[in-house]
């Protein structure tokens, strides 16, 4: 039915309107089999709307969309039977235990009782929840609920897994555990589509990503690509006492390729951060603190949109 070359998702000119509001304004995307693909952007960029259209739970307004080679408008149920969805907010069944959540969800896909019973055991293990199998889900921690939701999305052995902000609201330890699980899935050949407004998450997980802003795609490529194309090798961050920053801007601007003025700090883009820091000091500028780091996707986003990701 599908060949290796056929993209799992292909959108062209895809749009989504809610009344007068244009959430997605004509995007072109291709996701290939086996890759981890990211939608990076701030809240309201159109990431979730796009995800819902791909998940066949939201009809598109315009443009063309093919998921697993099929049209969601025509073959919604057939497509949904082969994808897994991890929504932004956990919607586990609070009237059921962890194990029952997996078993009953499998039954929604028409899987046999025997199959979902053994599948649930396997997935509880994968989600490291075997010792909580017969507990109610409400008292579970945020990280556990998230892992259970991911386990649930795998009950039908999907070809394609959609994760909408999988680690938002989790503590660092829970995020790392979750990333590990997602990385294992990727290794086992599952195609992942992830939305996130965390650049570190995108850098960790995604082979390729698009940066979305205001319903449009601002840039596309691998994280390294995007950084090389849209930012410098290093960034020098300077912090000042409140009120001191504005006077410094004209002094440091000639020293760097580009300067971004954030409310709490200045970002100086350059190939040589330490060199520029020396030059800053040589001109008598005394920041409260300074930091030289490598460019990240956050810088790419800032360059492309003039805003930080977590506005």
């Amino acid at each position: 039915m599908t060949t290796v070359d056929l993209p799992l998702v292909r959108a062209s000119g895809l749009t989504k309107h809610f009344g007068d509001f244009e959430a997605v304004r004509g995007i072109d995307v291709e996701v290939r089999r086996g890759e981890a693909f990211g939608f990076l952007g701030p809240n309201g960029a159109g990431k979730s709307s796009t995800m819902r259209m791909v998940a066949c739970t939201s009809p598109r307004t315009g443009g063309d969309l093919r998921v697993l080679g099929m049209d969601p408008d025509v073959d919604g149920p057939r497509i949904r039977s082969r994808i897994g969805v991890v929504p932004q907010e956990d919607n586990l069944d609070t009237e059921l235990t962890a194990r029952q959540n997996l078993e009953v969800y499998g039954r929604y896909f028409g899987l046999s009782r025997a199959h979902v019973r053994s599948k649930a055991v396997e997935l509880l293990d994968f989600a490291q929840l075997a010792d909580r199998a017969d507990h109610e889900v409400e008292p579970l921690s945020g990280g556990m609920k998230r892992r259970l939701t991911i386990a649930r999305s795998l009950v039908n052995d999907p070809d394609l897994l959609l994760l909408d902000e999988p680690t938002t609201g989790l503590d660092p330890q829970a995020r790392h555990l979750l990333w590990d699980r997602l990385f294992r899935l990727k290794q086992s050949g599952v195609t992942l589509i992830i939305t996130t407004h965390y650049m570190d998450e995108a850098e960790q997980l995604c082979d390729r990503l698009v940066v979305m802003d205001g319903g449009r795609i601002a840039a596309e490529g691998s994280p390294q690509d995007l950084i090389a194309r849209h930012s410098t090798r290093e960034v020098l961050e300077l912090r000042f006492a409140p009120g001191d920053q504005d006077a410094v801007v004209p002094v440091v601007t000639p020293l760097a390729d580009r300067v971004e003025v954030l409310p709490d700090r200045l970002l100086l883009y350059t190939a040589d951060g330490d060199g520029v820091l020396d030059a800053v000091h040589a001109r008598g500028v005394r920041p409260l603190s300074s930091l030289v780091r490598r460019s990240s996707l956050e810088d790419v986003f800032l360059r492309l949109t003039g805003r930080t990701l977590v506005d």
Binding site: F18, A55, T57, S58, P59, D73, V74, G76, P77, R78, R80, S81, V85, P87, E89, N91, L92, D93, T94, E95, L96, Q100, V104, Y105, R107, Y108, F109, G110, N156
Partner: protein, 279 residues
């Protein structure tokens, strides 16, 4: 018996439904929702059983207790009936209505608005109509158990006068189906818990005035018409006719009334759910 009946009803319903709505909204898997309800309620049998007592308590209080004060009431064909015999089938109808409305409004509103249960279901091959049919089937299955138990109580108390009463169970199920379908459709229009007062506003007067406790003849002619168009009056007529053995062609009219009500409810509920959930 209840099970085959229920399957027959939903199969016929789905044939009709498939012609009216796009195939993406329905995948013929509503039964899994009943399965889920069974898993959820496996540990809550006491709560389930308690639903049986309400009509029985009414029957003991009004039918037997209050009935001591009322010598006889004119039955459907004008024949004199004991008050308990008169009121029991009406209580059966009212309990079919109450149970179905409760299940289809409060329970469904909670799952829809707060538990986001249906969002999760719609990410699977299931469609909104599977949800509508599945939830209604569960309400029906539960209502059917209560009705069967209540009919046995009636039989034990000597309140069943005719073998036609065998049809009272499927009739009560049809009544419950219709009320559940319309209740679910109404739920899709509700925005907050305050709106549920409107449900009470519709259900309580019907319970009190739809010839549940006294015959239609007490009303002046103009008011009679108003009472006669209410669904609970139709249900009471149908069931009272069957348990007292006064069955006329009018019973088919009652059945048609509920068939139309049920079909309209399912289609409206399915479409509204699709509109609300598949934005």
């Amino acid at each position: 018996m209840t099970h085959t009946r229920e399957r027959a009803v939903s199969r016929r319903g789905s044939g009709l439904v498939l012609r009216i709505v796009p195939p993406g909204l329905y995948s013929g898997r509503g039964g899994v929702i009943v399965e889920r309800a069974l898993v959820v309620n496996r540990r809550a049998w006491l709560a389930i059983v308690s639903g049986f007592f309400e009509p029985v308590l009414f029957l003991l209080s009004l039918g037997v207790g209050f009935g001591q004060l009322v010598s006889e009431v004119a039955g459907p064909g004008g024949q004199p009936l004991s008050y308990a015999t008169f009121v029991a089938p009406a209580l059966l109808a009212a309990s079919a209505m109450n149970g179905a409305v409760y299940d289809a409004t409060f329970n469904i509103f909670f799952k829809f608005k707060y538990a986001r249960l249906y969002d999760a279901m719609l990410a699977t091959p299931m469609g909104p109509l599977d949800i509508a049919i599945g939830e209604i089937s569960w309400a029906l299955l539960r209502g059917g158990l209560y009705s069967a138990a209540f009919l046995l109580v009636m039989l034990g108390m000597g309140l069943i006068l005719s073998p036609w009463a065998l049809l009272a169970l499927p009739a009560a199920l049809l009544v419950a189906f219709a009320f559940a379908a319309v209740g679910m459709a109404a739920t899709t229009f509700m925005r907050s818990w305050q709106d549920f007062d409107l449900v009470q506003l519709a259900v309580l007067p019907m319970f009190l005035f739809s010839t549940t406790f006294f015959p239609l003849s007490v009303y002046p002619a103009g008011v009679r018409v108003v009472v006669q168009v209410t669904p609970l009056y139709q249900a009471v007529e149908l069931l009272r006719g069957l348990t007292t053995g006064h069955v006329t062609w009018a019973a088919l009219g009652n059945v048609a009334y509920f068939a139309v009500m049920a079909a309209t409810g399912v289609v409206v509920a399915g479409r509204r759910l699709a509109g609300l959930l598949l934005k």
